[in-house]
Amino acid sequence: MKLPLSWLDDFITLEADLEDLTRRLTLAGLEVENVERIAPMFDGVFVAKVLGVERHPNADRLSLCEVDAGAAGHFRVVCGAPNVRAGMIAALAKVGARLAAGAHGQGTGRLEDAEPLKAATIRGVESHGMLCSELELGLSKEHTGILELPADAPVGADLAGYLAMADTVLDIAITPNRGDCLSILGLAREIAALLDLRMKPLRIRPPRAPKNAAFPLSVRIEAADLCPRYAGLAMDGVKLGPSPVKIRRRLELCGMRAVSNVVDVTNYVMLELGQPLHAFDADRIADRAIIVRRAGNDGKIETLDGATRMLDPADLVIADRSGAVAIAGVMGGRNSEVGDETTRIVLESAYFEPMTVARTARRLGLRSEASYRFERGIDRSGQARALARAAELIRETAGGRVAGPIIDVEPNPSPAREITLELPALTSILGVEVAPAEVRRRLISIGATVRPAGRNRLQVTAPPFRPDLNETADLAEEVARLAGLAEIPAIVPARLATVNPPSPERSFARRLRNVMVGSGLAEVKTIAFIAPADNERYPGFEIGGAVRVTNPLSAELSEMRRSLLPGLLAALRFNLNREATAFHAFELGRVFGMRGEMAGEGERLAGVSYGDYALGAIGRSAIKADFWTAKGIVEACLRALGLDRRVVYEPAHDLAPYLHPGRAAVVKLDGTLIGLIGELHPEEAHRLELSDPCELFELDSQKLLAYESKTRRPLVTPPKFPAVRRDLALVLDRNFPAARVLGTIAELNAPMLENVEVFDVYEGAPVPPGKKSIALACRYRGTDRTLTDEEVNRTHAALVEEARRRLGAELRQ
């Protein structure tokens, strides 16, 4: 809400300095977002009366004018405006005046750049000054004639002062609960309460209606639940035209555009008092009979902005017997709009329920200054006053006459909102005791009625313009904020001394991150919204179908990621485009998928490894990321979680189409799928213009947490007796997995066999094509003695024979 201080001055006389005012407002919840100081666009311009006008001797289109500028002097000026006439009050720029807008609107808009006006000889006649148009004064683009000031403008006064051109406008952020501050009056009330000022009395006289109504007006409310009060006033003799410059200037300072005198008055009163008004052309309302009802089967209506709007049967409309003429509280209809021909009007001043206006305005995507105020709740009692104010201004600016009494229909009078305020409850909320007299004073200052109601208790009636005050907590806020919250001490609560067990999720996430950092990966954060094509390419695992956002920012961000991999690959591409040649990163984040009809979520730990990985130095090339790097990182992670012995890796086959079919593994924990590791499919790598192999992994971190081994593995004392190693090489099909070889040997339960591991895999001569040789190291150890060669040889020979037989392998000698 914009607050021009010149307008505020109509309601209060401000004594505090500006800095203090903005600070107090901000601390009290009315944040001053900007302070705009407006400099006048001219100086040396005076209010002047045109005494006489003669034809210029040498030019048909020019006039010679005698002008009286009171104390500022008496001048003869040449004027080319068609509207100049004797007796009019106009703006005279004296010799030496400066016009920031320039004589033809070509100025810079800065007063200091403007050349002082010189006396000029125009077609042989000397002109001592200039009568100005609105364009020249920087008031508007109007340049068809000179500015005509109201007849009561004080001749000889400095025009900048008269029009209050030098002004300060505060831009105040109004929170949704403070609809009452969406007016100059409301802000004045608030400032008066904050600074303990007295409001100037608001002198608005009720309109004097003629004995016999010039034309009848009736109002019928058929939807009293949505419109508890509707007041209308008929006026005739209205002549549409532009508003006086002062009204236009105030509208403009508040960010509104001037339209015509009648419309401007409705907007002016809305800004001034907070009550939205609407003017109908009375001759376009059948029988001057207004009906407030739900839209029902009305269908559509063309609104003032020229758009055709579909009405919902539940929308509240203003109608006559032939149909809707306005969408209540949102926008008027074209069919009842005031126009140049209008002479009779009906002014509407109503209270519409906030929810109905909000619902309709949101559905239509149509926000107006009126709907903005209705949605936030206007003064429940301010309807008649606003009509009176508007009638007064329309009489002054458009020559209108009140044609009949205010028709004020209020089927549902609002009950007073009574709150019993227990002072101990107030203290228990705020943590500080405010003296009862001070509580009382503060509540009265915001317009509440306060009566004592026994010991430590006040009976408070909330003012009708504060629908947000309903219970003790609301009053506590008022009491606290009027002092800027400063009187409340800062106390650290005593019970925070208790010790809470650390969150298992947090400890787990910290461990995962530590392992990843230790494995050389940089943590990244990517955004969860992705393109549908990326969800198709990277479907993740065990997450469900893609979640489509109902109201996405764009088609490229219209789905929720099912996997973290597309985000990681985008980050890889981003860095490769910026000089990076290697990228090793991880992300721990949420993924999303459909669970039946509902959107659901999961959590993943994912990583990417690309390019030089580690141990490179001058003269020595680094280890480059390959499948083993990614698998090594996953193994390190599972080892850190104590899960490594429960995990198996199996070929993924076609489970992950984005991975190289021969270099992809699923990770299973106790038989459950918990992740995938693999090399990006060469076609994908080509699409992403990657020249090196790109290694990926993604794990379900929630399942990892669920399975994380809680019981520590028992400690084993180092063996006392030496081990004996025997090697074994088996020739198998190239695709035979090593894990099955180890599994088969483990099943043999060979005595004294402590451990078996693969130490080499070889392909090529003399191993036949299509075959590979797997070399295994078997470690034998006795628990109670040093084993003899002979007994180890015997056991090992038996193991080799049995393994060979079960695996159908050849022995390699």
């Binding site: 705020l430 943590g431 904020r481 943590e523 141990l615």
Partner: protein, 349 residues
């Protein structure tokens, strides 16, 4: 004979000078000390000497022999050291060159900030509880006192998902989720992602993270003064003990009274600058006493229980503490930015 011996000694010592090479040393050793060397020769001719002189000559021979052997040993040792030095020198490296790259990653700056924030709250006795990103209307809005069609719902725009779900627009759903299944006393912080319909820009992101905190106990046990105490302590712990903290009245549907909290501008220390729009203050978080309607929504009687709640944006707080002003840096994942947090990452968790 004695003269002869002295001559042998003199010559040998002269030849075993400091610069004598291995070959020369060997030549002297063979010539003088060898089996058929000069000293052996003298011993053989001992008979030629008068008997009374023989013992003295014998002693002299032994003396010269010991002397030369010691000298040779010393020289050999020197030469060995020299050779070692030469070979070490030949193997010398340019130690100013960089070492082998050990794989070592880094944490994201937002993780670092968030963990530091949570550490402070944990130290103050708050429990840390994770809640969900995909929410329903009740937990994101209704229970938090946002009535249907209320303009407060539009303070920020929400993303909606199928099945009547939405992406939470704040972590305040954590209050509801935790209070629904627990009874006071509670002191909890809920970190997590939030989503709002903003394009990624210098100031906004469609996805960001917040930390919600709340404390509930018997009415009167947790007051607005405690809210001020906890947040002031937190902000001074996070931003430094000389940070100014200011509370000003505001509005949130789920708190009453509500307060926004400002800290003194970190750039100008409160003097007023471009960043703080000359105010000297920077907005940092929102807070207030939990609205009675929120307590009612989770089945607490507001006459019996009372509490405070607060929420803050992690990215925003992180930007402020890092002194950078472009939110996009956090989501672009440029290694040249991320790697600057390597040292901060070590031992941070």
């Amino acid at each position: 004979m004695r003269e002869q011996l002295e001559e042998i000694r003199e010559r040998a010592l002269a030849e075993l000078g400091d610069d004598a090479g291995d070959a020369q040393i060997e030549a002297v050793r063979v010539r003088v000390l060898g089996r058929s060397g000069e000293l052996t020769g003298i011993m053989r001719r001992m008979r030629e000497a008068p008997p009374e002189e023989r013992p003295a000559i014998g002693r002299l021979v032994n003396e010269i022999k010991d002397q030369l052997e010691a000298r040779i040993a010393a020289l050999v040792e020197i030469r060995k050291r020299e050779a070692m030095a030469r070979s070490l020198n030949a193997a010398a490296l340019d130690v100013t060159l960089p070492g082998a790259r050990i794989a070592r990653g880094s944490l994201h700056p937002v993780t670092l900030s968030r963990e530091r924030m949570l550490d402070i709250f944990a130290a103050m006795g708050f429990e840390i509880i994770d809640t969900q990103d995909v929410e329903d209307d009740f937990h994101n809005f209704g229970a938090l006192n946002f009535p249907a069609d209320h303009p407060a719902r539009e303070m920020q725009d929400t993303f909606f998902l199928p099945g009547g779900m939405l992406l939470r627009m704040h972590t305040s759903n954590g209050q509801i989720r935790v209070m629904e299944r627990r009874r006071p006393p509670l002191a909890v912080v809920c970190p997590g992602n939030c989503y709002r319909r903003d394009e990624l820009s210098v100031r906004a992101s469609p996805m960001f993270s917040q930390i919600e905190g709340f404390m509930v106990d018997r009415a009167g046990a947790v007051t607005m003064a405690h809210l001020k105490g906890v947040l002031t302590e937190f902000l001074r712990a996070f931003f430094g003990s000389d940070t100014g903290v200011r509370f000003r009245a505001s509005f949130f549907p789920f708190t009453e009274p509500s307060a926004e909290v400002d800290i003194s501008c970190l750039l100008c220390k409160g003097a007023g600058c471009r960043v703080c729009k000359q105010s000297g203050w920077t907005e940092i978080l929102g807070s207030g006493m939990i609205h009675p309607n929120v307590l009612r929504a989770v089945g607490y009687d507001p006459r019996e229980y009372q509490g405070f709640a607060f929420g803050m944006g992690v990215e925003r707080t992180s930007l402020l503490s890092l002194g950078v002003d472009d939110l996009r840096l956090f989501f672009e994942n440029d290694l040249r930015f991320l790697e600057q947090f390597r040292s901060a990452s070590e031992g941070a968790l």
